[in-house]
């Protein structure tokens, strides 16, 4: 799309038209090399003053994101919170059809020094709900490798989170099931708080679609037009990529997987992915779509060219273990129509969570696993991460 426009601009510049000789455009903000995150204003200046400008188009990272037909030419876009370079290009067109363009590249943040505060956070869900509200830090006891820890930060409820919604878009989701699941995802995003953000990742035997982190539901569906359910299933690979996309995000991190969990085409074993999950506290929820044969009382026991039945059972077991270790849970559903209500319950759960921070007093060395136990006063049962890998 952009190339023909630019080509046209070059051709028009070659023509002896008054507008073509005079029309100029410049991006005032952001400046070249500037580091940007989240909502960003792009201010555009078109000259000469009084030029009969028809429209100014804005492209961000090669995607046409907006058109402004009257001055001041100003756009606000959300570029997400990934530490990434971005390319902005504006194309102005006047009444004679002449065009002019300008571009700016922003930079990634260069991290020269990491600040190690060694704060370990636990995301705590009180099971059952009754008596869950109104707890104080004194109601909790954290044991790191069996040693009681002092709780230094204590928050509840509206702590912002960043989530990846990882949806299976394989052949098994044909017949409108993918669309129904996506409707559930959209209602999840609509119910989020202002500072919460989500990325949608669709996968089959490979990654099919990845949106930026956003809190705007429409951004999630921008590119969905061409995405149809098809292909196999590489759950492990997709979970790994989702974890990595969450890695440099700050605060509470959540990964919601919607899949029957049967991995066929992954190149990575779930055991390796689980080790990555152990390093970074991401709460993993698995909306497990029960297979037809399970509903009939059989266990899904099958082999593929990649794994025998025991291999498939092992991978599924590792995924279960990863979910439970992360402090998340497995919600088994029979119909894709249940996705929306389960996502709502996950959102409710996130809003009810306690976030406890402590600075571990036990040091075993980088790369070692710490068992964490959380006790709650009274008869309440709490669910949280079962440990972490020391950095």
């Amino acid at each position: 799309m952009r190339r023909p426009v630019l080509l046209l601009a070059v051709l028009l510049l070659a023509l002896p038209t008054a507008g073509a000789q005079n029309l100029r455009v410049a991006i005032l903000t952001p400046a070249p090399g500037q580091v940007i995150f989240g909502e960003t204003e792009i201010a555009v200046q078109v000259s000469p003053a009084g030029a009969r400008v028809e429209k100014v188009e804005l492209y961000v990272d090669s995607v046409r994101v907006g058109v402004d037909e009257s001055p001041p030419y100003r756009f606000v876009v959300d570029v997400g919170h990934e530490n990434a370079e971005h390319h902005f290009e504006v194309v102005a067109q006047d009444a004679s059809g002449a065009t002019a363009s300008a571009e700016v590249r922003t930079s990634r943040l260069q991290v020269d020094m990491a600040i190690d505060v060694r704060l370990q956070q636990l995301f705590v869900t009180i099971e059952g709900g009754r008596g869950a509200r109104g707890l104080t830090r004194d109601d909790f006891t954290i044991l790191d490798e069996g040693v009681p820890q002092q709780i230094v930060t204590f928050e509840r409820g509206e702590v912002p989170f960043t989530a990846v919604l990882l949806l299976d878009a394989s052949t098994s989701m044909k017949g409108g099931r993918l669309e129904t699941a996506l409707d559930g995802a959209k209602s999840f995003v609509r119910s989020m708080q202002r500072l919460d953000e989500v990325k949608l990742l669709l996968f089959s035997d490979h990654v099919r679609l990845e949106t930026p982190f956003t809190s705007v539901p429409s951004i999630l569906t921008l590119s969905l037009g061409q995405t149809a359910a098809d292909g196999g299933s590489a759950v492990n690979d997709a979970v790994y990529l989702a974890l990595k996309r969450l890695e440099d995000r700050l605060g509470r991190k959540v990964l919601i997987l919607f899949s029957d969990g049967i991995d066929v085409e992954s190149v990575l074993p779930m055991e390796s992915v689980r080790q990555v999950l152990r390093r970074d506290p991401v709460v993993l929820y698995w909306l497990r779509l029960r297979r037809e044969e399970e509903r009939n009382g059989s266990s899904p026991d099958f082999s593929t060219a990649w794994r025998d039945a025991a291999g498939h059972r092992h991978e599924m077991g590792e995924l279960r273990r990863a979910v439970l270790e992360s402090g998340g849970r497995i919600e088994t559903i029979d119909r894709v129509e249940q996705v929306a209500s389960v996502l709502t319950s996950v959102l409710d759960e996130l809003r009810e969570q306690y976030v406890l921070g402590y600075t571990p007093s036990v040091h075993k060395g980088p790369g070692t696993w710490h068992d964490v136990e959380l006790r709650v006063r009274g008869s309440l049962q709490a669910r949280t991460q079962r440990g972490y890998v020391e950095k």
């Binding site: 035997d205 990654v207 690979d237 790994y240 990529l241 390093r279 044969e293």
Partner: protein, 668 residues
Amino acid sequence: MRLVLIVLLAVLSVAWPAGAQAPAGEAAVRVLPSGGLQVESAALLMSGQEGGVIPLAALALPLPGESERARVPVIVEIDGSGLLAGHREPRLRLEVSVYALTAGGGIQGSRMDMIEIDLARMREAVEGSGVQLTGELTLRPGDYTLRVLVRDLETGDIGLRSLPLSVPAFRQASPALLPPVFAAPSAEAWVTARAAGSSPLALSGLSGPPVAKPVLALDEEARFAVAGSHLAAGDLAARAEVWKPGGERAADFPARLSGRQPGPAGLEVLSLAFTPSGLAPGEYELRVSIPRASSPGTRFVLVAAAEGGRVWAQLDARGSKPAARSAAASPPPAPPKKRFGNAAPVRKAYREALERLARGDEEAARAAVFQLESSLLSGKNRLTPEDLSEIELEVAHKLAETGPESLVPVAILHQRIYRDSAGRQPLLAVHSRELVLQLADLYAKRGGTPAARAMAARFILGLAAELVKTAPSSVRSRVFQRALDLDAENEAALLCRAVDFERQSKPAEAVSTLELLLRSHPQNGEARLRLALNVERLGRKGEARRLLQEIVAGQPEPWQLALAYQELGRMLVADGDLEAAERALREGLKRLPDDEKLTLQLAMIHELRQSPEQASEALQPLRPGTGESARRRYNRMPTELLDEVWSGLVRAADERRASLAAALGSAP
């Protein structure tokens, strides 16, 4: 007499018929989860068609459950007399699928089980009567059609039956009767098996366990039980109504009530008896009526008094046959000959359709044969697929006598009908598939040359292009083996057979098949890649790595190259040689820069080195992809090869139309 439900903890209950050996080691009869219904099986069940070559009977008995849903034990009886003809495997494996469908065609309950029987120990018992499986569904109150499919996983033979099922609303106060239940003549009458999660049914006070289709003797009192709920108190005047299968009442007898006792889950059990008389031997349905209630029907077979004391599978069409046969003493007999009326009109219509084919009007010919076969396999006066095949093969034999090449367009015609009917008309699809296999045998035999055998193998593989999409793996295996029996070096058949072995987790068999393939077709890159992966599964790691290195040194297809690098990287990581793995993956990424899996593997190497930041950096360029990944391609059948075979066959059929015309002209 009291209906007693006993829940056993064991998942399997097996009765050993007289003459069967006691089990040693692994059970001689096992019931396994089937691992999911195949598309073809589902299509057969949903089609509403009945027939097939495996005779079977079924009875469902709804019982009150813990919730509103009823527990519905289903007894399926499978005739064993002709079942083992042509079996080469030491085990008989039967897939039994049961669907409960609403009037609108919705599936309200289903189960799929696989019965596996060790023939070394059980052959005689299976042939003596057959197999009885008890499974269980849970269903809401309502009217259903119960559809039962039995498939022999070695031969591909099927049997399909439908029966009405009414599940009473036990919690409502209105009276309800269940179907009459009869006992087997002896506890060992059938080789019995019970599916996981199903409770056994036992009838206390009768001489054996319940059967699906009892055999009653003329003029002899038959005792049975009927369970019901909310029945009127006091003496009940019960009647036994005998109906013909077509829905016409045949006779009405008084039923003697000898007792009524409380049964399980609030049911009451009536002990009844009646004496059928004045009826011709044959098959009927028994319904019981009492004031304000009548029962659904139970099928039974009525025989002369001398033929009683058996199960239905021990009788032939005339109502008698030896009770048990010794496999050691004589080979298993062929299934009972099916009867059909005048075959001449069918033969004539079939020939006329072939004449159209010979004239080049393939579409009209196909439509005519499609319509002919569809109408003959369904409807009131339908033929069995065996009967229809016999008539069509008779025509084919005559054509082959004149010139075997005339069979090529005929075989392709039936393959096209198979493609048209697969998933839509399952019985027709199965018939077409079996007919093509028989035409291939006929062509090979008539041609008598290696070239003829190779062409016959291609007939069979032409089927496979469609078959791999819908048919169960057992049918696929059989088809590929049939092709290889005709042409041991057939490239497509060997590769497909190897993939089938892989998918069944049989690497040793896959390796030997692939080695055979590479001896005759050393240029086959896919075979070389699959060989590498399967020798690794056998523990021959060095050999696997060497084979993969040979592949990446060449110029294979892109998906094969990607997989060779991915697997090389995976093997090196598993061996702990991260440096060599990284080298291999980077080399792969140079040649295939957009390969998602190589990128993920490279990132994971950084994770293993505790460098998550480098891993993130490696993942930075990863973008969503399109199309089919190499790993997906590996997990499916090489359909491209099969499509090539099909295209070649279509050309060959066009070239041989003149042979067909000549054969039709000279064959009477």
